[in-house]
Symmetry: C2
Subunit: 339 residues, 2 copies
């Protein structure tokens, strides 16, 4: 910066004013400084700036497994929104779902000097892990516990699960079976709860949910069990990947979907419209989740402490071909993928 100042024949402070676009610099000197900057290829040192201003222009994102469609999409949404607001995003992946792992990840980010953190780790254990955290650190939890005293952006899991279950019931199914996600994920619990509530309200029998871990493999395992049970006519899978496994298992068992069994997934991954059959599912707007999270986080950073807020991003039921009315209406509809 000093070099630029000398070359432009001004003081370093004036250079600072120019690079920060502060007022009070005569246009002629401004261009002179700009020219010097250009000539020397000067870039301001962010570390020095962060040191003196106390702001790093960096946000942290803690994510459990950024390979899954949901977290990856949310991360993408956050990053795009951060770009708009001139913030950087640094990521920290969790190695386990244990409480110390969460603390450690956040600790790492704090050490690096992030101004705030978004946690995309919808774990039950998270609420506890957040308890013993520096309270002055702005935090937003995606899919976090509503009871915790922090900002939360959440997807309408309950409403989504309700929509899925009600859709199946409205098609005439006596009840709906459920292949659940891992029980230490809040989303999984909420989807299960929404499913159960809907069945109870409809006076339908509530069969035991089958355990899954989001993977197609676990869906397949659950599907093999369900395919052996002749009275199963409707299934709500807690995500699309498991639905794929279920479809596979039923295909192998010779029980057509939706001919014999109707199936609803959750997520609406980009491929969902092209599965065989095209999958009826609950669409989540992950991009919106990312944007809202960031907005909330920036608001906290600006405004300082304030009452915790809670945003809900609603889901959409996307009806495709994996659901049909019962009793099986003869030949399955065959139509082109809708989307």
């Amino acid at each position: 910066m000093m070099d630029v100042a000398i070359l432009a024949g001004v003081s370093h402070q004036t250079v600072s004013r120019v690079v920060n676009a502060l007022p009070g610099v005569k246009p002629t000197t401004r261009v002179r400084v700009l020219a010097a900057i250009e000539q020397l290829g000067y870039r301001r040192n962010s570390a020095a700036r962060a040191l003196v201003t106390g702001r790093s222009q960096t946000l942290g994102v803690v994510t459990l497994n950024s390979t899954l469609y949901g977290p990856a999409s949310t991360l993408y949404g956050i990053e795009q929104a951060a770009l708009e607001s001139k913030y950087f995003v640094t990521v920290a992946s969790l190695r386990s779902t244990e409480r110390p792992a969460v603390r450690q990840a956040i600790g790492r980010l704090v050490d690096q000097g992030v101004e705030g953190v978004v946690i995309i780790a919808p774990l039950v254990a998270l609420a506890e892990a957040l308890a013993d955290l520096p309270t002055d650190l702005p935090i937003v939890a995606v899919e976090g516990d509503a009871d915790a005293d922090i900002d939360v952006v959440t997807v309408g899991q309950d409403a989504g699960a309700h929509a899925a279950t009600a859709h199946l019931l409205s098609l005439g199914h006596q009840t709906v079976w459920h292949v659940a996600g891992p029980t230490d994920w809040l989303e999984a619990r909420q989807r299960t709860a929404g499913w159960r509530r809907t069945l109870e309200e409809a006076g339908a029998e509530v069969p035991p949910p089958l355990p899954g871990d989001w993977s197609a493999r676990s869906g397949y395992d659950a599907g093999r069990v369900l395919a052996r049970m002749p009275d199963v006519t409707a299934i709500f899978a807690a995500n699309d990947s498991m639905a794929v496994g279920i479809m596979r298992a039923f295909h192998e068992a010779g029980r057509p979907i939706p001919g014999a069994v109707s199936l609803v997934g959750f997520d609406d991954v980009p491929e969902a419209a092209y599965y065989s059959p095209p999958l009826t599912t609950i669409r989540q707007d992950f991009g919106e989740v990312g944007r809202r999270s960031l907005a909330l986080l920036l608001d906290q950073i600006e405004a300082g402490s304030r009452p915790a807020q809670r945003h809900v991003v609603e889901t959409t039921l996307v009806v495709r071909d994996s659901t049909a009315s019962t009793p099986a209406a003869g030949q399955p509809r065959r139509r082109r993928p809708s989307r």
Copy 2:
């Protein structure tokens, strides 16, 4: 730090020595300092440290669309490896595939003070964009151009495409059709090239490749075209998502896979084993790509300038049920997903 020093009755420099685990501190004073740190909840300021050391402990990752399975997995691999080496990872997504967008993204990261950059943006335009970059910035390109004078970690696209095509030919197919990825992606070009080479070497006819954009939708569109052509018996899709769309189109057309047509994908996404039919595909080890990229980058940072290196991560052909010998051998095999 000064507060800690005073509380422990030492100088700030001794505190620095303790937090950096440098030798030359008597064990008794070390514990005293540690106690003071604990008591005051001291954390060292990374900005100050970065300012004086000139090292930010931060790496940048430029990615095109971190929602796709490949980039997301690679990013995950890089982050995990960076964690091992005590580095942070900040991400910068590209908004377009244009050359200035790449420069801008890297510029952003440099402004933030990253020590090196991994570019996961296998674009043809990338090689050019890299040309006018600060040469002293350590860079590794994932799937970058081999001709460029930078480190490259690449997947054996050509070998993978060869394996896929040769597998189909070995099953007795006269030739293999190809649904390609976007032409501005290097990977897409290389897969197409490997496919073409294999056909030519085998003396098979080379049909025109159909264009795609990685999405299931584009695969479906291509599949609808191919399904109308009775002489098509084997297809190589440039990724698994497009293969899903192709499967859908053939299903609708009443042409069974693998009964009438054999299909091979590329990537081996986690769901591939559970599609209907389970998809024969080329597995890519994205985690390994991430690890290697990071190793190369750290090596550059340590060693300074050195001749550009080139690493190839090989692929594996995973044979499942979407491929069969021709002429169609009657009933398709039905077996449980392998994986």
